[in-house]
């Protein structure tokens, strides 16, 4: 093996693969990827709930941000009211955190309800509705954040500590680490993805949702209440945006910063398209997008050795800012590439973006 690493270029590639394998199996790369992918995947689930029923939602970003803010503030208030409550042994739940998560979910649903009303009842342009939500969310949370100037803390959720023997298992140990050595919201994602995937393709709700997103009139003529279904799905989708917000301030970070969603809501939309409007596909997209960022963190904390290491530190020395930002920029770059490459071939639900008017064509 070592001999192969000396081959020019190909040697680099092999070294890189070897590094990847090592990083995945021995470091935190895998759980880190899943963690970073969590808000993207949750945002994507929100997007799928909307778009499958025929509503464009580019306001995921704003919904997440609102939820992150509300979740944090509520949790902080509760925490200050009852500072001495003991966190639970697993995940470190406190009443403050639980109420904070619920508040975040509530905020997500509330903003979604606004989106639903604008899109379904007012029949506003759905892109505009989403944009309005994004702008208002960014402005309002930023303003309130400055007004309140929160100094307290809300506490954070802890990752689960899986039994050592599972994590140390050869070959498969890293999979357990990936899905178990993470916080509760991150862990819930995989459950939501699977449940939603099954419901979408096997349940009555899923069939009706897909029909309404493809051909609302056909759904209407068999007695399905198109408007009601759209309302319901958009509002329920808000749960996922809310959870993504809670993840930001209650699991991943310990405070709220202005604009902290950092366009994750838009990457989530790219994941929806990448995954062809299926929960599992979108989840795969989220993992793919965020893997590069996790890899950047891994490389910095645990730089590769040998020629590859020398090469990378060479670049770092020559172009420090490029090097330090390259991995952080990767998810956005990948998003661009995917949008340019996949968009044409991935087909959206036919009726997406078009308000439904009951009495109409012959």
């Amino acid at each position: 093996m070592e001999v192969l690493f000396d081959i020019p270029i190909l040697g680099f590639v092999l070294q890189f693969i070897a590094y990847l394998i090592e990083a995945v199996t021995t470091t935190n790369l895998a759980p880190q990827t899943l963690q970073l992918a969590t808000p993207i995947a949750l945002g994507a689930l929100c997007g799928i709930m909307n778009e499958r029923s025929g509503i464009v939602n580019i306001g995921i970003e704003g919904m997440m941000l609102t939820a992150a803010f509300v979740g944090f503030m509520v949790a902080m208030l509760v925490h200050e009211a009852m500072p001495q409550s003991e966190p639970t042994a697993i995940f470190g739940f406190t009443p403050a955190l639980v109420i904070g998560i619920l508040a975040a979910i509530g905020a997500g649903m509330l903003v979604s309800a606004l989106h639903a009303w604008l899109c379904v009842t007012v029949r506003a342009d759905q892109i505009i509705s989403g944009t309005v939500i994004n702008i208002i969310a960014l402005g309002l949370t930023g303003y309130l954040n400055r007004l309140i100037q929160p100094t307290g803390s809300a506490g954070t959720l802890d990752p689960f500590r899986p039994p050592e023997f599972l994590v140390d298992l050869p070959v498969v140990g890293w999979i357990f680490r990936m899905f178990l050595a993470v916080g509760p919201i991150t862990m819930s994602v995989i459950v939501f993805v699977i449940i939603l995937q099954i419901l979408l393709f096997r349940s009555r709700w899923g069939l009706r949702t897909r029909a309404v997103g493809e051909h609302p009139r056909a759904a209407d003529t068999v007695g399905i209440d198109v408007l009601k279904l759209r309302y319901r799905n958009v509002i329920l989708g808000g749960i996922f945006a809310g959870l993504a917000g809670a993840w930001l301030t209650l699991e991943f970070n310990q405070s709220f910063q202005n604009g902290m969603t950092a366009n994750r809501g838009f990457i989530a939309l790219a994941a929806v398209i990448f995954g062809r409007w299926t929960p599992i596909g979108a989840f795969g997209g989220a993992l793919l997008f965020m893997f590069s960022e996790a890899l950047g963190i891994a490389i910095r904390s645990n730089p590769p050795e040998g020629d590859l290491g020398v090469f990378l530190s060479g670049i770092q020395a020559a172009y420090p800012s490029l090097y330090n930002n390259a991995f952080g920029a990767m998810p956005y770059l990948l998003t661009l590439i995917v949008l340019a490459g996949v968009v044409g071939r991935s087909v959206a639900p036919a009726a997406v973006g078009r308000p439904y008017v009951k009495e109409g064509a012959s």
């Binding site: 349940s203 056909a218 068999v222």
Partner: protein, 529 residues
């Protein structure tokens, strides 16, 4: 179920419905008895679909009342109509293309394994059983978008039957069916009527109406102009009642003077959505000044052939040339520029943008040419003027040129497509079901136009499920059977029976009859017998 013949199952009284600029229904009275097949006849835009939409809760009447079994009811929406035992096959398919046949049939009336999940296996069994009972051999797993229009029509009918309605409305269910397919469906309808269901049947084909209906109600411009019993009327009488003038049911096509070949197809092979070769090496040429008809049971490769010729589908092998120029695999745009016009079989999918104004639809294939555009700017005056002319010339019944195409009645939508395509400078004309859903008067008009185009030197390819249409117009007739052209015969002297046998069996004479006896019914797509 009520057994007394006199008590109507359904009564509609004084139904009035106004749309901006038109009175679609003007005090219509309709009475349907139990176990009766009641036909509705009327010109395009007469108000038939509107009346049925009101019955089905899709439109609210401005005046009038609906009585079911002598009790006045308000039908709030389709869910309400379904709950009251009314089921409807819509004029334009209400199928979700990306869903399977089974999912489309289930939708809204799901068979459940438990409160959350569908029981697809049970549903499939019921659909296959239902299909068998009515002679449709259908694969519930197929995606609807890969079905031919004829089969989509069957799915629509199965969907209505699955709901087990006592009043079944069929809005032009036979518009895209071949005579054999229509016969199959009539057997189904007759059986349902015998079981006590009431059926409202809309069609523009007078002989069909005479064959199947117990009573016929004729509507003209939103008003009932008469009710007839088939034994006391005939086609000419009905046509006159509908249109208000004498209609020539068969146009005189005169003699053709074919010149050089304008459309040449050489060993064309086309694969369908399921990856099966559905056009298997077809060769023919259509000469300028000639109408070349293609007859065949739906699903024998005609759709794929037309799609390949018009640039909607890429052939796997073979050549197509227009006026001597090789245009194989050229897109629709390039073909149009080469002088090809195309009237598609599915006007909603290919022919029109339903949410655009009628006037814009009338220039969809010429919007960038003079006089409709000046540089990069629309020339609204020219567009308006042409729209006005087209509406008058083609008798498009519409309150104005600016209403969206979706609000026109089905037949008037068709006239808009025909008007647009016929008005272009063209050398080749591809017609796929050009008179789908048109009333007798309009058919007469369109047929005249087709003949005029031919006499002006266009090469015309006519594909129609309507055998009579093919025979009436074509100078030569090709029969397509399982992806091949099995015979080309001279149009004016072709024998209807002969062609019918060729369509059903791909063979002629005694061999064909033997084959016909062997086959019990028409087989489904994908179920190669």
């Amino acid at each position: 179920m009520t057994q007394t013949v006199s008590a109507p199952a359904l009564e509609m009284r004084g139904i009035t419905k106004r749309y901006p600029g038109v009175v679609a229904n003007d005090g219509i009275d309709l009475e349907i008895r139990p176990g009766e097949i009641h036909a509705l006849l009327g010109e395009n835009g007469a108000g038939k679909s509107t009346l049925m939409n009101i019955l089905y809760g899709l439109a609210t009447p401005d005046a009038g009342e609906i009585l079911l079994d002598d009790t006045a009811v308000t039908i709030a929406g389709p869910a309400d109509a379904i709950a009251r035992g009314i089921s409807m096959v819509h004029q334009h398919f209400m199928l979700v293309p990306v869903l399977s046949v089974a999912d489309n049939i289930l939708l809204g009336e799901e068979t459940m394994a438990n409160p959350i999940f569908l029981d697809r296996r049970e549903a499939h069994r019921r659909i296959v059983d239902l299909g068998k009972r009515f002679g449709f051999d259908i694969d519930p797993e197929m995606k609807v978008e890969s079905l031919s229009v004829g089969w989509q029509q069957r799915v629509e009918i199965l969907k209505a039957l699955y709901r087990d309605a006592r009043i079944l409305v069929l809005d032009e269910p036979t518009a895209v069916l071949t005579p054999q397919e229509t016969k199959d469906i009539f057997l189904v309808l007759q059986r349902l009527a015998d079981e006590g269901h009431s059926i409202i049947f809309i069609s523009h084909k007078l002989f069909e109406v005479l064959e199947i209906a117990d009573r016929i109600t004729v509507i003209r411009r939103g008003q009932v102009v008469g009710t007839r019993i088939p034994s006391e009327t005939n086609e000419d009488d009905l046509a006159e009642l509908m249109v208000g003038r004498n209609v020539q049911l068969v146009v005189d096509r005169g003699e053709s003077h074919p010149a050089e070949p304008a459309l040449t197809v050489n060993d064309l092979r086309v694969t369908d959505d399921r990856g099966q070769e559905s056009v298997k090496g077809v060769s023919f040429e259509v000469r300028a000044g000639e109408i070349f008809g293609i007859a065949g049971v739906a699903g024998n490769g005609q759709e794929e052939l037309v799609e390949a010729l018009t640039g909607l589908r890429s052939p796997t092998a073979g050549q197509v040339s227009v006026a001597g120029k090789d245009v194989t695999r050229h897109g629709p745009r390039a073909l149009q520029q080469a002088g090809m016009s195309f009237v598609p079989g599915d006007r909603h999918r290919f022919g029109l943008v339903l949410s655009f104004p009628l006037e814009d639809n009338l220039i969809l294939t010429q919007y960038d040419e003079a006089p409709y555009s000046r540089g990069m700017v629309r020339n609204d005056a020219a567009i308006r003027a042409w729209a006005k002319q087209a509406i008058a010339e083609y008798d498009i019944r519409t309150p104005s040129a600016t209403v969206t195409a979706g609000t026109l009645s089905g037949g008037n939508q068709q006239k808009a497509v025909v008007a647009r395509e016929f008005s272009r400078k063209l050398t080749t004309l591809i017609l796929d079901q050009p008179t789908r859903g048109l009333d007798v008067g309009s058919i007469e008009f369109i047929h005249r136009q087709v003949v005029a185009k031919r006499d002006a030197g266009a090469a015309i390819l006519l594909v129609s499920a309507e055998l009579d249409e093919v025979l009436e117009l074509s100078d030569r007739v090709a029969v397509m059977y399982r992806g091949e052209i099995v015979a080309v015969v001279d149009g004016p002297t072709a024998e209807r029976e002969d062609i019918g046998l060729l369509m059903a069996t791909g063979r002629r004479g005694a061999a064909a009859e033997a084959a016909l006896v062997a086959a019990t019914h028409v087989t489904g797509p994908g179920v190669e017998a």
